[in-house]
Symmetry: C2
Subunit: 136 residues, 2 copies
DNA sequence: TCTTGAAGCTCTAGTCGCTAGAGGAATTAG
DNA sequence: CTAATTCCTCTAGCGACTAGAGCTTCAAGA
């Protein structure tokens, strides 16, 4: 049996975050001691490691909730879980594409040759979208 | 003189967001009609366009506040504004690097060949960090 | 001049995924 | 038995808006 602090250390999820996951319904309410403290078992450890990993991969809480729900029904088609992962992959790729454009624009902007703000290229570039080389 | 709705249409910033910017101190409190409605001038239009553009480029409100503050003091060294832009560029590059790793990992995970959840690769990959090919 | 409907106003609360702090109770090592 | 540490609940805050309730003002047409 693990205390919440031990669970925290083993999974790398902070204590208040574990309690937050509980109240968000991502992990089951654990048993308690006589003194009302939470005690966790191995199933909780695994569940939390799963959540942690999925969060690290950038999945939202809602997506994780669905995956947990799916995991509880092994007879459902695999395509459902696959779909969630793929949707997320698509999101990530879109975010990368957007950030690449920003990177270009910023790299162009962040190279001022003036001396004082009055002649600063950065501010005028930010003021005037027309100076941009692509849409964003 | 523009109403808040006209200003919104011209800049692409939603009406409640304009009001929020005002209360966050990013734009000055505009004049009002007798009936207490906001009326904006060209300076407001330009300021808002500046904010919109900087937000589109992903700059945070705090950074924008600093840039506005800088813009009000044309004698200050240009390096200050340049620094803000460069710092942000660094952030963007780090985010891109992180997302690239996620993309790889997700692409590997999101390719299940099972039929039902029971044999689904996606869920087990998410449960087990050791299956990952790199840190994240 | 009157009416109508769009657009304006303020205020509060909600979003997401936590994080921080207050104030107190339980546990554990020495 | 004491002292240090960990635990408990509860509330509030972050960033950058967004949504809604309930009301007032404005502008155009009849």
């Amino acid at each position: 049996m693990l205390t919440i602090g031990q669970l925290s250390r083993r999974t790398g999820v902070k204590v208040p975050t574990i309690r937050w996951y509980e109240q968000a319904g991502l992990i089951d309410e654990p048993g308690r001691t006589e003194g009302n403290q939470r005690r966790y078992g191995n199933a909780d450890l695994e569940r939390l490691a799963f959540i942690r990993h999925a969060r690290d991969l950038g999945l939202g809480v809602e997506a994780i909730r669905e995956l947990i729900e799916l995991g509880a029904h092994p007879e459902r088609p695999c395509a459902d879980a696959d779909h969630i992962a793929r949707t997320h992959l698509k999101n990530v790729r879109e975010r990368i594409a957007r950030l690449r454009k920003l990177e270009k624009e910023l790299a162009r902007i962040a190279a001022c040759h003036g001396e004082t703000i009055g002649e600063c290229h950065v501010l005028s570039a930010l003021a005037d979208h027309d100076q941009c080389t692509s849409e964003h």
